[in-house]
């Protein structure tokens, strides 16, 4: 009887730990995601499905809780893409932060620009993902960039 009571208490304690600290308990063993773009140093360029996107965020260094200008240059081969509807979707790989979409307007010759804010996560995490979403006709091409804010 005493043994089953101890077992029940152990399960209760385990449940309490999981209830109180789910992300900390579950975070162990997760693969580490690293930045692939030094956005505070220079613009970054990537190609997905033949679409090349160059992302620049200013002012540099890129800090959270500041108004930022996002600039995207789109090209396919040697041609600038001027007919796309473009948005930059900002998310954190390790935390749900709600939808933060920067809508971009075409400025000239494949250059799109928009203003947005990267919010601060009080957990201290700084890694963000910016997905450049280019809609052309019925097709959407997503070019992801992973970077750290300061």
């Amino acid at each position: 009887m005493a043994r089953s009571s101890r077992t029940a208490d152990s399960f209760t304690a385990l449940a309490l730990v999981l209830f109180l600290f789910p992300p900390y308990a579950l975070a162990a063993g997760k693969p580490v995601i690293k930045a692939d773009c030094q956005i505070s140093e220079h613009p970054c360029t990537k190609t997905t499905d033949g679409l090349t996107a160059t992302l620049e965020i200013t002012p540099r260094p890129v800090r959270d809780m500041r108004e930022l200008v996002f600039t995207v240059f789109l090209s396919q081969g040697s041609k600038a893409v001027t007919d796309a509807k473009v948005a930059v979707d900002l998310t954190m790989p390790d935390m749900i932060m709600g939808q933060n979409l920067v809508r971009m307007a075409h400025k000239m010759q494949g250059i799109y620009a928009g203003k947005g804010v990267i919010v601060r996560c009080p957990s201290g995490k700084k890694l963000w993902r910016a997905e450049v979403r280019a809609h052309r006709g019925k097709k959407t091409i997503v070019v992801p960039f992973l970077f750290e804010v300061r």
Partner: protein
Amino acid sequence: METGYVFAFTTGLAGGFGHCIGMCGPLAASFSVQGKRSPPSVVIGRQLLYHAGRVTTYALIGAVMGYAGSFVNVAGSLMGVQNSVMILAGVLMVAMGLGIAGLIGGTAWIERHNAGVLGAARRVIAHPSGLRNFPLGLLMGLLPCGLSYTSFIAAAGTGSPVSGMMLMLAFGCGTVPALAAFGAAAGYVGSRLRGRVQQAGGLLVLAMGLYYIVKGIRLYAEM
């Protein structure tokens, strides 16, 4: 705009389970775990009062954001206050954790040795009326939170105080089910705790309180 409210509500609902439980769950849970055993209806009632206060604060900030039409300007002036609230929440949790773990022989120790902040915290925690949870929620609604920041950007984008308020009200209501259920569940678990297990729960709340304090100080340093 109604679509925006529905989207804000669903953001809060999804974020409540995926984000808020991790970041603020321990705080909501600690309000349930501390104190004497209470029937489930009382525990749930206290949780709902706490969240009503929190959502009210969100709605008020949403109105200010909508009026100002700028997230950056308003958030900039709010940040100092929010970091202080994070430290205060940490202090509250440390006080509660010590009490739950039975390390300070009840709240009298706090009153004897800490006439200042901890004494004030004790008065809030030990107030006999469950209604204390509403002002507590009003205050804790000011906690810095990445998910609510994102919603504040949308509130600022509405360009109207009423729309900003409604949007944040929808978002805040969306976060309630996850946090209230989490807090109430912790209260149920808490009521079953005995001896060493209760001490462990108290130490966890204490550790989380220290975490909040360190984070709050670090956020100040980053300003």
